[in-house]
C-alpha cells in the first residue's frame, strides 16, 4: 500500500479507519486499481518516476464530512488533495501535486442547492458540473443561461476557482468574477462562509459579494488554503437574441487598429462578449517552410511579403468574430455600429454570421456550430488530438501554455514572433500554435497547445520547451494565467517581484490558515512550511 510522505504506515491505516467511519468504507479507495483512476489522464509525466500518484482517495458527500476528514487529516498529518469533478484535464486532472496525497474526491457532493430565476444565480456544491446545472435549468424551463468552459463535465466551482472562462456575455464568462459567496472548510478545519454568507440568515448571499470587512474570496482560488464546499454563481438571464459577424483584414499591421477598436467596443459594452481573433493566413501557409519562416521575422520585407500572399490568395491575415447578446433591435444596431467603426480599416471586409431568437429549439441546438456561445455545454473540445480522418494517430492528451499579454495589436505581433521563434528553435510547428484568445476582459491570453503522448522522450522534450516558454514569456513581462500542475512551481517563480514577496505572503497565509499544511501541498507553487525548499 502506498503511504503519504512523512506518515507511518500504522498511522495511515488508523487514519483510513477513521476516514471510513466518516464517509463509509465503500467511499474509501485504497486498492491499486481504484487509486490508479486518480492519475492524470493527460499527464506529461507518463510512466516516469515523477508521475503524480495518490495513496488513496476519499469521497465525502457533505461539508460536515469534509470538516471531519480535514480534522482527522490534521491529527495524523495526512496530505489531502481536494478535487471537484476531477476533470481539469490539461491542468492536472484528478492527480495530486504531491504524490502520496489522499485525494478528497468531492464528486458525490453534487447538489444544486438553489437556482433563483429572479436573482439569476445558483448555489451549488463542488461536484456539480456544467451539464448538471444546464439540465436542472432546462428541466424547469427557467429563463437562465449558464456560461460554460470547453468541457461540459467540468465543475462550476472548480472552474471558477481555477480562473476558467467561457464564451457568452460579459461578465458571466469570467467565472471567478461571477462567483458570489463561498462556504469553505479551512485547512485548520473551520467552516466559514464569505461575503454576506457570514451573516446568519442572510438574504443576500448570492447577491452581494463583498460582505463586511476584507474581501477574502480570492485567496481560495488557485490556492490551497481550504476546501470550498459551496459557491454562489451568477447566471445570465436568457437574452432575446444572439447575433455574430466577422471582420477580415488583409494587412499585417491592421491588427493594431483592429484590436484598438475591439478594445473600445468591449470596454464601452457595444461588444458584450469575448473575441475570437484568428490568423487564417498562418494556417494557410503552415505547410510552406519559406512562408512559414516569415512568421518569426519583424523586418519590413517579410511583412510586405505576408501582405502580398494574403492579397494574392485572398486569405485574411487577421479575422475576428464579434458576438452580441440582447434584444434583436439592439444586437443588430451593435453589429451595424461595429461595421461602421471598423470600416475605417482599409480593405477590410465583413461577413454576417448567425442570428438566433431565443429560446432555441432542440433542432437549432443540434445544429449549432459553437454550442457554448449559446450557453449549451458540450464535450466537443475532446476532438483536440482525437483520431480523425486527417489525424490517424491520436494523442493521449494535451497541454496549453497560456500567458497573459496586453490587449494591443503590438503585443499580439510581438508575442507571436517571440513564441514562434522559441517553437522554431525546438523544431515545432510555428504557424498554427500561437493564438491570442480573450479569456478575460482587458487582456489576451496567447494559447500554445501541445499534445502529450504515451512516449517518455517526446513528453520530456515538451516539458523542456514548456519551461523555456515560461522563461521567455517572463523576460517579456508575460505570465501564465493558469497552468498544469507539472509547471506550477515554474510559473510561481516567474511572479518574483521584490524577491518573491507575493509568494512569501502566500506562504505566510498558508501557515496561518492551514498550519499543518494538509491541503493540496504545492498547488500553484504554495508549499507548506515542512515541504518548502530553500
Amino acid at each position: 500500500m502506498a503511504v503519504p510522505p512523512g506518515v507511518s504506515e500504522q498511522n495511515f491505516r488508523r487514519a483510513l479507519e477513521r476516514f471510513a467511519r466518516v464517509v463509509g468504507s465503500e467511499w474509501v479507495f485504497t486498492s491499486d486499481e481504484d487509486v490508479a483512476l486518480y492519475k492524470d489522464a493527460y499527464t506529461p509525466l507518463w510512466n516516469e518516476n515523477d508521475e503524480k500518484t495518490a495513496s488513496a482517495a476519499l469521497a465525502p458527500n457533505s461539508a460536515e464530512q469534509v470538516q471531519q476528514i480535514v480534522r482527522i487529516a490534521n491529527e495524523y498529518r495526512i496530505p489531502l488533495y481536494p478535487i471537484s469533478t476531477g476533470r481539469n484535464l490539461g491542468y492536472g486532472g484528478s492527480a495530486p501535486v504531491l504524490s502520496g496525497s489522499v485525494v478528497l474526491d468531492l464528486k458525490r457532493m453534487n447538489r444544486i442547492i438553489e437556482v433563483s430565476e429572479r436573482n439569476a444565480s445558483a448555489l451549488v456544491e463542488p461536484g456539480v458540473s456544467y451539464f448538471d446545472l444546464y439540465r436542472y435549468i432546462q428541466e424547469r424551463k427557467l429563463k437562465l443561461w449558464i456560461d460554460c468552459p470547453d468541457p461540459g463535465w467540468g465543475s462550476v466551482i472548480g472552474n471558477a476557482l481555477d480562473h476558467g472562462a467561457g464564451y457568452t456575455m460579459n461578465p458571466y464568462r469570467d467565472h471567478f468574477g461571477s462567483q458570489c459567496g463561498m462556504e469553505v472548510v479551512t485547512g485548520a478545519g473551520d467552516l466559514i462562509r464569505t461575503g454576506m454568507g457570514a451573516l446568519p440568515n442572510s438574504k443576500t448571499w448570492q447577491q452581494y459579494k463583498y460582505g463586511y470587512g476584507p474581501y477574502i474570496d480570492g485567496i481560495f482560488s488557485q490556492s490551497n488554503f481550504g476546501v470550498v464546499t459551496k459557491m454562489g454563481i451568477w447566471l445570465m438571464p436568457e437574452p432575446e437574441a444572439y447575433l455574430d459577424g466577422n471582420i477580415e483584414c488583409f494587412n499585417h499591421d491592421d491588427i493594431i487598429a483592429l484590436v484598438d477598436h475591439m478594445s473600445y467596443l468591449m470596454n464601452t459594452g457595444v461588444q458584450n462578449a469575448g473575441t475570437n481573433l484568428q490568423s487564417p493566413l498562418r494556417f494557410a501557409i503552415s505547410q510552406e517552410p519559406d512562408l512559414r519562416a516569415l512568421l518569426t521575422r519583424d523586418d519590413a520585407a517579410s511583412v510586405a511579403r505576408l501582405n502580398d500572399v494574403a492579397r494574392q490568395r485572398n486569405v485574411p491575415i487577421w479575422s475576428n468574430t464579434f458576438k452580441f447578446y440582447g434584444p434583436e433591435e439592439v444586437v443588430r444596431a451593435q453589429w451595424a455600429y461595429t461595421k461602421r467603426r471598423l470600416g475605417a480599416i482599409t480593405n477590410s471586409r465583413f461577413v454576417d454570421g448567425a442570428f438566433y431568437r431565443m429560446p432555441l429549439t432542440e433542432q437549432q441546438k443540434s445544429t449549432l456550430r459553437d454550442e457554448q456561445d449559446l450557453g449549451v455545454p458540450t464535450l466537443g473540445t475532446f476532438s483536440i488530438g482525437a483520431r480523425t480522418a486527417q489525424n490517424p494517430t491520436p494523442t493521449t492528451g494535451h497541454l496549453g501554455f497560456s500567458p497573459v499579454i496586453p490587449m494591443t495589436g503590438e503585443a499580439v505581433i510581438e508575442s507571436q514572433r517571440v513564441f514562434s521563434r522559441v517553437l522554431q528553435e525546438a523544431g515545432r510547428d510555428v504557424a498554427a500554435n500561437v493564438f491570442p484568445q480573450s479569456y478575460h476582459p482587458r487582456t489576451f491570453v496567447i494559447l500554445v497547445m501541445f499534445s502529450v503522448m504515451h512516449n517518455v522522450e517526446s513528453n520530456r522534450q515538451t516539458r523542456t520547451l514548456f519551461r523555456r516558454l515560461i522563461e521567455v514569456a517572463a523576460e517579456h513581462g508575460w505570465g501564465e494565467y493558469r497552468t498544469h500542475t507539472t509547471f506550477m512551481d515554474d510559473c510561481a517563480k516567474a511572479y518574483s517581484f521584490n524577491n518573491n514577496a507575493l509568494l512569501r505572503l502566500h506562504e505566510r497565509l498558508k501557515d496561518a490558515v492551514d498550519p499543518n499544511g494538509i491541503i493540496s501541498a504545492g498547488r500553484y507553487g504554495i508549499w507548506p512550511r515542512h515541504l518548502r525548499r530553500g
Binding site: W27, F29, E33, A36, L37, K39, A41, Y42, A59, G86, R87, L89, G93, S94, D105, K107, R108, G127, F131, D150, G152, W153, G274, Q278, S286, S366, D370, E371, Q372, T378, L379, G380, T381, F382, S383, I384, G385, A386, R387, T388, A389, N391, P392, T393, P394, T395, T396, H398, G400, A432, N433, F435, Q437, Y439, L447, S451, M453, H454, N455, S458
Partner: protein, 130 residues
C-alpha cells in the same frame, strides 16, 4: 476557446498507442445491442441513463461528437462510430474502456460511474444475448 482550434491545429507528434486499434478487431460480431423498450429491465434503463449522462457527449450519433468521429475514422465504415449502433460491445470491452480510457478519453472514477452503473452500462451496450 480550445475548441476553435479543432479544424486547424497541426498535431505533429504521432506516437500514440491505440487501445481501439488493438482490442476492438479481436471482438467477434454479435447480434444487435439491447435497447431498452417499454417495460425493459431496470438495469437496461439505468444503463441508458448512464450512457446519456456520461457517454453521449462524445459517443452519440451526429457531428461534433469526438468519440463517434474517432471511431468513424478508425473503422472507415466497417463498423458504426456511434456506440449505441454497435453490435459487438461485449461487457468486458465496455468495462475496460471506461476504467482504462483510450487516446484522449480519460478513465472514469467510481464516484462518477459506480461498479453497478458500469455493469448496467455494459449490459445496455451489449449484444442481446450477453
Amino acid at each position: 476557446m480550445r475548441r476553435r482550434l479543432l479544424s486547424t491545429l497541426m498535431w505533429t507528434l504521432a506516437l500514440a498507442v491505440s487501445w481501439a486499434g488493438t482490442l476492438v478487431p479481436a471482438i467477434q460480431q454479435q447480434p444487435a445491442a439491447a435497447k431498452p423498450q417499454p417495460g425493459a429491465s431496470s438495469q437496461l434503463q439505468r444503463g441508458k441513463a448512464v450512457f446519456d449522462e456520461w457517454c453521449a457527449g462524445c459517443h452519440a450519433p451526429g457531428p461534433r461528437r469526438p468519440g463517434t468521429q474517432a471511431l468513424d475514422a478508425l473503422y472507415k465504415g466497417k463498423k458504426p462510430g456511434a456506440l449505441e449502433e454497435r453490435t459487438d460491445l461485449v461487457p468486458k470491452l465496455t468495462e475496460t474502456f471506461v476504467r482504462k480510457g483510450v487516446s484522449v478519453m480519460p478513465p472514469f472514477r467510481k464516484t462518477e460511474i459506480t461498479d453497478a452503473d458500469l455493469a448496467a452500462l455494459a449490459a445496455y451496450l451489449a449484444p442481446k444475448n450477453q
